[in-house]
């Protein structure tokens, strides 16, 4: 216990000392790491924001209107509505009468004018469906077409093109976000490795003596790993703060310009924790790699 405590104290003490002694190099390392963490955080948050905008679109897209033919009886409609309600893939079904449809549509002045000119209401009644998964929409479109009470000419408002494109865009953006984060992660690993290598080089005599008098590899390694972790965490705290503040500002300004970007506090906190953990991990692993070469005595 005493030995472990003393080892930890030694490692912590020399990590701190090291950091102070090579303050210039250490700060340069922290700064570069900070920049990269900033980029990673920014990239992830941006992807997330775009994702949530698209997600909103997708939610809208996961609705389908099934147009009911004018000749259908209320009993038939109620029956069909019940059938849809019982379907596991369906979240909700709402019946929209011809009058409601007209009222809804008349928010557009052109349509309002057209309706007035016509004198009668050509808009069909509909069953408005919300489904759990976007991909199920096609099945409901098919089902509607096979149902007798559904309008022959326009069965639904389903548009497969828009939906599949939206799907692709979401996947591509998520993929790009992950790839960018991974590349930045690799770059920061190399940077930390070289920073630590400089620090190790400055202390090569010390390491040589440690090896000479019989210190174990891990005993030599720990201070550097702690130093790397320390740098990573400091970098993550600063960049995380900037990312968080930037996200806040971005959401505010986006809302002012009518672009509805939801502020996802939960995600931001998770991201901060991730950045901290990632910073520490990259710092530690980079140091491990950086010190490896000098241990081969």
């Amino acid at each position: 216990m005493r030995r472990i405590g003393a080892s930890l104290w030694f490692a912590w003490h020399s990590a701190g000392q090291n950091f102070k002694r090579n303050l210039g190099v250490s700060l340069a390392g922290v700064f570069t790491m900070g920049l990269i963490i900033l980029l990673v955080g920014g990239a992830l948050l941006f992807t997330h924001s775009v994702d949530s905008i698209l997600q909103t679109q997708q939610n809208n897209a996961s609705k389908i209107k099934i147009y009911i033919s004018d000749s259908a009886s209320l009993a038939q409609i109620a029956d069909f509505q019940q059938r849809l309600k019982d379907d596991r893939r369906v979240i909700s079904v709402a019946f929209e009468t011809k009058d409601q449809a007209a009222k809804e549509a008349s928010s557009d002045p052109d349509i309002q004018q057209a309706l007035q000119t016509l004198g009668s209401n050509p808009l069909p009644a509909s069953l408005n469906l919300e489904v759990k998964q976007l991909t199920d929409l096609a099945a409901f479109d098919k089902l509607a077409k096979a149902t007798p009470i559904v309008d022959r000419t326009t069965a639904t408002d389903y548009n497969p093109d828009v939906i599949s494109k939206l799907h692709t865009v979401i996947n591509v953006i998520e993929g790009i976000g992950i790839v960018i984060a991974l590349i930045l992660f690799a770059i920061s690993l190399v940077i930390i490795m070289n920073t630590i290598r400089t620090a190790v080089y400055a202390r090569r005599t010390e390491i040589e003596i440690m090896k000479l008098v019989g210190a174990t590899d891990w005993f030599v390694r720990w201070p550097f790993i702690l130093e790397g972790m320390l740098g990573g965490i400091i970098a993550a705290i600063f960049s995380g703060g900037i990312v968080f503040a930037g996200y806040h500002l971005f959401v505010q300004s986006a809302q002012r310009s009518l672009l509805s970007v939801p502020f996802d506090g939960g995600y931001a906190v998770t991201l901060l924790v991730l950045l901290l953990g990632g910073g520490a991990l990259v710092g530690a692993f980079g140091s491990y790699l950086g010190v490896r070469r000098f241990l081969a005595v």
Partner: protein, 252 residues
């Protein structure tokens, strides 16, 4: 000082076992660039021996030392230290092996940003963290080398001889069985060198095996101890009470 040394720095009593402390069996070392540093070296050093390892620069003295402390491995042959074959020793066992040695070099290898006491304490801190009575142990060993009044000086405030004494104190503080000195007087004037050798003789007097690589002719000829002469990678002479040069000869 010799008596005080004997009293204060208690070492295990000298036991001349049948088995040598250090032995080389047909050891050769060829470096990557086809430079042959050692050829078929056979050696046996017993507990309590004091050996000079002599030879011109590049003769193979340093390679021999590096092989002994397993900084390098031989190309062929086997080396034993206290009965353990070190040539095939696993890497994780090396720290324990090195703790059996006290090692000093020509260039002292002191840490410039630590005081004399801190330099010596460092050796204990990194091998035996949480060591009790650290300060007492450090002061004791610095007293042995005659630097008890320089505890808080920094290396660059000391003379070369004093720096080498600090290095010796650091190598002694964990009470090694074998003391290896690679050209310890290489940077020192004759008087100071003689002081260092006296110190090594005292260390040997208490039972510690000492191997000193040197090309200091006066010292070797004055001390008259065992001399192992190396020339072009071969052991060309091994005498119990030898001199630097072959008697009546101009070469080793």
């Amino acid at each position: 000082m010799s008596v005080a040394f004997a009293e204060r720095f208690a070492m295990p009593a000298v036991v001349h076992g049948p088995r040598p402390v250090i032995s080389f069996h047909g050891v050769s070392k060829v470096y990557g660039n086809h430079v042959v540093a050692l050829r078929e070296v056979d050696l046996a050093i017993h507990q309590g021996d004091f050996c000079f390892l002599v030879g011109a620069s590049g003769a193979g003295k340093s390679t021999l030392v590096r092989l002994l402390i397993r900084e390098e491995t031989p190309s062929t042959g086997r080396i034993f230290v206290e009965g353990d074959e070190i040539t095939r020793m696993a890497r994780r066992k090396l720290p324990k092996l090195r703790r059996r040695f006290g090692i000093v070099f020509q260039d002292y290898k002191l840490l410039a940003n630590r005081t004399v006491a801190q330099n010596v304490a460092f050796a204990l801190q990194v091998t035996r963290p949480g060591q009790r009575h650290l300060r007492e142990k450090v002061e004791e060993v610095l007293w042995i080398v005659g630097l008890e009044d320089k505890l808080d000086k920094f290396p660059d405030e000391l003379s070369g001889g004093e720096q080498q004494r600090v290095a010796i104190a650091r190598a002694l503080v964990h009470r090694p069985h074998i003391f290896v000195a690679d050209e310890p007087t290489g940077n020192l004037d004759p008087d100071t060198s003689w002081g260092i050798v006296q110190l090594l003789l005292q260390i040997n007097h208490r039972g510690t095996t000492v191997l000193m690589a040197t090309h200091n002719r006066e010292i070797v000829d004055l001390v008259r101890r065992r001399v192992i002469a190396v020339e072009q990678g071969r052991v060309v002479r091994d005498e119990a009470q030898g001199s630097y040069l072959r008697p009546g000869d101009a070469t080793l």
